[in-house]
Amino acid sequence: MILRLFRIRGGVHPPEHKHPTASRPIEACPLPARLYVPLQQHIGAPAEPVVQVGEKVLKGQLIGHAQGPVSAPVHAPTSGTVTTIAPHAAPHPSGLPVVCVTIEPDGEDRWESAPAETDPFLLTPREIGERVAAAGIVGMGGAAFPSAVKLGAATRTPIHTLIINGGECEPYLTCDDRLMRERAVEVIDGVRIMLHGTQATRALIAIEENKPSAIRELKRAARIDERVMVVRIPALYPMGSEKHMIQTLTGRELPPGRLPADLGLIVHNVATAFAVHRAVRFGRPLISRIVTVGGGALREPRNREVLIGTPIEDLVECCGGFAEEPARLLMGGPMMGQVIPWNAPVVKGTSGVIALTREEIHIGETRACIRCGRCVSACPVGLMPLEMASRIRADQFDGAVDHGLNDCISCGSCAFVCPASIPLVQFFNFAKGELVARKTAQDKSQVLKLMAEQRQARLEREAREKAEAAARKKAEREAAKRAEQEAAARETGT
């Protein structure tokens, strides 16, 4: 069966730069001297630490448990001693720290429990969800949304199709490509477990056409289950965007504010499928991931299987260090990746660590917009980035929203093609942040206004009650007096 594919609007073809790492097998990384495991590596509430400073931990041991409905637990990536539980640089452009559990490895890498295989297909969907949640699995394509929450959506809305995102449309990144090529059987197992967990009737594994080996390997491994179908999709950025993958595979568009589940769909990354396989079949939590360490500034670009919490510095060191000073150090790919501090650790959502040279960034001096409309043609959402930017420049945020600012997915296609080198995404992110700040301020002032009104009402009520009470008392007193006088009059009268 061949699936009919649908065209998406716009998109760009950035140079792929995948060859330096695509042809080399995944390699392990030596144990670093220290691991910094952030308690917040996911969208949602941070995990609550359950270990003490000085405590010995074993590999896979729970060190932070999930808090609230959207959260994920965190586990020790190796055995060793907890040295601190304190703020440390987070892999975020702000450079703001998050609380990390620092573990000094003892070098034994001893598991908390012996491996035990379970047949996942004997479990109920609910149990699968619980195991995925307990393993701390989050979306590994970069968004880091807790996977169990997504799988749990299937219990509320019927899901018919599970989409597995193997697009990997970002340049440089090849971690998913290598994973699919080297661990196809495990990935397919993970997909089948998720099918069982969501009770979906089919799984579509979408892989861009520029990864023929991965397509071949997964097709071979998928033969055991006719519900699983490997789909070759065009190599076009941003094909890996959830919205656009859904459109390509089903022809349907996700209206703003709706979830894929509303269309009977659920989308997971291939690396997430692999993590699910490990977690549900072998009871192993998510404590490592494959990271593409690449970019022109790096001496030996490689795909490395890295323990969560490994400092970027150590990771770069095990890839031969820098051949030249990088102009920019990124987490993720060059289109949507973020600038990160040097001492930040690898987290569950780290698909790549990319050190770019100035030539690779290739940005000219920002010039005036010549209204060429390349951004409009490139936008996969159908926005007019030039119009949005001109509104934002003039502080007309409402005008920018009217032009669809809130529909922007920040994919960067517009800024990639802009001949005037206008940092359009920077404009949009600024405006989005500003709108959130204004909304917060507005909400706050509304709350203050409400409180002031309530206070006024309370004061008035109290004054009224006091006056009423006084009046009542006075009336009572007068009534008593009258009664007395009447009684006296009666006495004298008789």
Partner: protein, 369 residues
């Protein structure tokens, strides 16, 4: 390493085309038609070309310096030179030097810098200058000459060329070489009541019109060379097909229709497409990114509007040629087009409302093929 960590948003890689690169490509595409024009009309044409381009460059440098910005950076984007280039191409080839100077100054200073410089102008600067020149100096702007190829004996030499451009052409010389353009000739003859076939006799030969061996502006007579340049720009993705196709298509359609209704009064599509500034207008002037809509559908509308106006002005207006007026009128409509003609946003209908999720979908709903 300080800026390694400056929290700049993505993307962290960029395509290669810069503004200067785009302008350079456009100029490259103009080279064949320009060289042909120089060959066809000789030294005076080259002089006018040099004068107009230099004026534009000086005007640009002067303007940005007054504004306190770097002249080198402004000249570096090539937009002022391109404006001068396009203006020169549309001028009568033997026009005196001051036509180039006045036109160049007006195009850059009033047409562009007064609006705020590159990207800010509402009207195409070259066309604005051309229309101003036509209205202010109608004689100089309608003095056309028959082809005087450089290689032909009797065509003015270098020194005589300088004299023609800088001190003016002598009346005797002018009498010998002047000629009406095809469109001008038709306007006069049709106005006089002459039948079209008679008026065209000896004036219009399609193959000649394709190559451009006829009286006209300095470098817009060769439809073929301009078409080649335009196709080159399309292949290099500097321009889209929408504006040229819509403009030429609309003009051809109207011309054919009117020619069918009154064959002895209205010229056919071939005459309209291959004469005057239509080819240059469609591929190089109307496609000016600054003054044309930024959506593809908007560009279709814009191009169709240009085609319609060109036909209306040529057939029913006071001037034999209407490309410059048509483009300027459509430039004025561009903000309106950009306001109303927007792409449909993902997940929303054309009015911007979120699409509704109709029914509970089933996997069989998507038909495999």
């Amino acid at each position: 390493m300080s800026d390694v960590y400056s929290p700049v948003a993505g993307p962290h890689t960029h395509a290669t085309a810069g503004v200067g690169g785009i302008m350079l490509q456009v100029m490259l595409a103009l080279v064949p038609a320009t060289l042909f024009g120089i060959w066809l009309y000789g030294w005076p044409a080259l002089n006018l070309f040099v004068v107009t381009l230099s004026t534009c460059a000086i005007a640009e440098a002067l303007s940005v310096r007054i504004g306190g910005r770097s002249a080198a950076a402004a000249l570096g984007d090539g937009s002022a030179l391109l404006t001068g280039w396009l203006l020169a191409m549309t001028l009568p080839p033997w026009a005196p030097w001051w036509i180039g100077v006045v036109g160049g100054l007006f195009a850059v200073m009033v047409g562009k810098q007064v609006f705020g410089g590159i990207g800010q102008n509402l009207f195409n600067p070259a066309m604005l200058a051309r229309v101003v020149l036509l209205i202010a100096f109608p004689l100089e702007l309608t003095t056309w000459i028959a082809p005087q190829p450089l290689t032909q004996t009797g065509s003015p030499g270098f020194v005589e060329g300088l004299a023609i451009t800088f001190t003016g052409v002598t009346p005797e010389r002018l009498d010998a070489v002047s000629s009406a353009t095809l469109l001008g000739h038709l306007k006069t003859e049709i106005g006089r009541g002459t039948q079209l076939t008679a008026a065209l006799d000896g004036w219009y030969e399609p193959s000649q019109a394709w190559f451009g061996h006829m009286a006209g502006s300095f470098a817009e007579t060769s439809a073929l060379l301009i078409l080649l340049g335009g196709l080159y720009l399309m292949v290099r993705r500097i321009i889209d097909w929408q504006i040229p196709a819509a403009m030429l298509g609309t003009l051809a359609l109207l011309a054919s229709l009117m020619h069918m209704i009154a064959p002895e009064r209205y010229a056919d599509a071939g005459v309209h497409l291959l004469s005057g500034g239509v080819m240059l207008g469609a591929f190089f002037i109307a496609t000016d990114p600054v003054t044309s809509p930024s959506t593809l559908r908007g560009r279709l509308l814009f191009g169709a509007g240009c085609g319609l106006l060109v036909y209306v002005i040529r057939s029913f207006g006071g001037y034999p040629e209407g490309v410059a007026f048509a483009v300027l009128l459509m430039n004025a409509v561009t903000p309106l087009i950009d306001h109303y003609v927007r792409p449909r946003i993902y997940g929303r209908d054309i009015h911007g409302r979120p699409r509704t999720i109709a029914s509970k979908p089933k996997p069989d709903a998507e038909k495999p093929s």
